[in-house]
Symmetry: C2
Subunit: 359 residues, 2 copies
Amino acid sequence: MTSRVAADRLRRQLAAIFGAWGMPAGQAAVTVERMVESDLRGVDSHGVAMLALYDELRREGRLTVAPEVRVVRESPVTALIDGGGGLGHYPSTRAMELAVAKAMAAGIGAVAVRNSNHYGAAGVYALMAVRAGLIGVSTTGVHRPAVVPTFAAEPMFGTNPIAFAAPAGRNSPFCLDMATSTVAIGKLKLAAFAGRVIPEGWAVDDRGRPLTDPHQALRHRHLTFLGGTPEMSSHKGYGLGAMVEILSTILPGASYAPLRQSRRPGAARHDVGHFFLALDPKAFRGEGEFEADLDDMIDALHAARPADPAEPVLVAGDPETRAVAERERDGIPLSPAVLDIVRAVCAGCGAPNLLTEAT
Amino acid sequence: MTSRVAADRLRRQLAAIFGAWGMPAGQAAVTVERMVESDLRGVDSHGVAMLALYDELRREGRLTVAPEVRVVRESPVTALIDGGGGLGHYPSTRAMELAVAKAMAAGIGAVAVRNSNHYGAAGVYALMAVRAGLIGVSTTGVHRPAVVPTFAAEPMFGTNPIAFAAPAGRNSPFCLDMATSTVAIGKLKLAAFAGRVIPEGWAVDDRGRPLTDPHQALRHRHLTFLGGTPEMSSHKGYGLGAMVEILSTILPGASYAPLRQSRRPGAARHDVGHFFLALDPKAFRGEGEFEADLDDMIDALHAARPADPAEPVLVAGDPETRAVAERERDGIPLSPAVLDIVRAVCAGCGAPNLLTEAT
């Protein structure tokens, strides 16, 4: 059965774990905030559930728990940050804060991060810009290739997400937060669990042929790029995935995963990279004009004639905004599997388990 | 039969037409260059073939042939340009030149354009940045909605393309140039011409239901967003199309097409908007490092195991680079339909027809 846990208790739990790991308090507080924000937004795959991977990296010696995060290069509108081999949330938050400060001062700011790790949900960084009245962009590379380019038979990129957020007035922000793959591994697991076949175009085998059996798909772990098949223009999703890799990995000089072993043999760190951009609408338009026009566009989309009256037309960010309201009120639903992860991680580092005892 | 026309002759033909229209020579030269570049790159739909639309706009009084193009707002790293109601190529070229100059000086430059029109192929602007050693981004709105959001039954956006280009070293540039729709109208026409059914997910009817008959699809002209169906994640393509609209239309204060009639009743101009970004890799890395790492990524993609040995793995921009080499050597193939368009446009404005007489 799923348990509901208040966001604050989840924050205390994560802080206790990171404290036990030896993460400096300031870095831990930021990491906790980004992770719980993901859970509050309903992006369950990228919040507390990621503890399993983070703990695995730590136990394998692939994660610096007290990294030195430093600005390596800087100009009034750009910067490069080195993440020191730690988790991605803290250097990414520093990076977007820096991009926001530059955009507030100059109109635009672009900051890239190298030598980092998984940073959670891409959207939470784009929304940091929105809270400052700016447009925000956030992209990241992924340490493990899982997505197969059009016409290829092997994965050459991660799910390489891109997030884009923009401030509205009376409406909640526009917030697109998407993997450039057709679906994530999680959708294969759900189909396998439910005993359903998957549509042709979600996953392929070792020869690039579409799979419809979710169990086979999970064995191969070869996802497709958005579009799914060449006939449905998967080359566009592939192009977007490569664009994300260029911004997130090549621009900061992080490691392109398929070449990591040959270029840095024996390196323990995955050297993941990220990219952040903040852009001030007031550099282009009068105060409030951008937000008013975006409101009109969002209203027009909500008012668009639906194909099925029972299924209204949504705007990117709508489901997450609804999840935040519901979860701040009722708590964050955690599955038994996630509670087990937390239990195991606590046991492994001596942190108190604040979730299962009291729920 | 298709005729081959040398790029230079096509340039002279277009210059003669724009001269007869009364377009100032400097603006005409730039417009010609962008259009012929599209044809050279094999993007036949966005070069000389667009003359039909441009002439229609002119005859309907919707196009200013001698527009005043001016910088409305400017900072060291941003600018807003007003296109004066003319074709998009000239203000867009000015905009990317400005973005490039700012990025060369400061690391990054973002320029938006309002009160413009169709600007041809998105990719040719992104490549202007690459020729200066920079990363380039180019997006545009479209005056006529044709793409239906997920769960909707009516079109709310144009094909809203995005282009992203980046400089490599030994390889030709990475250049993604894609509509955010699954396919363009042109693919429906090809299927109708060939008597083939179209895949479910390319187009829908007035109730949002997938069509497989290309003739019906052409009657409705309702395309889908990349992904094609909700099950294949069309909400991602829809989100990308909305992102392009926010950057291209809302940011510069151009007209969001579905609201144009109600907000500016009787306005003759379509008030299309565009967005351009240039970013200097040298703000983040040492000279040549970005290009070298991008080369390695491109080489790895070309070397990826193909699903079918007869169909190698491509990188965005490969087909266009090949087309340029072939068409600079052998001329640009123009179909009888395109030659007819040129003939009619010449007849309508008194320009000499330089293509059919001498071919």
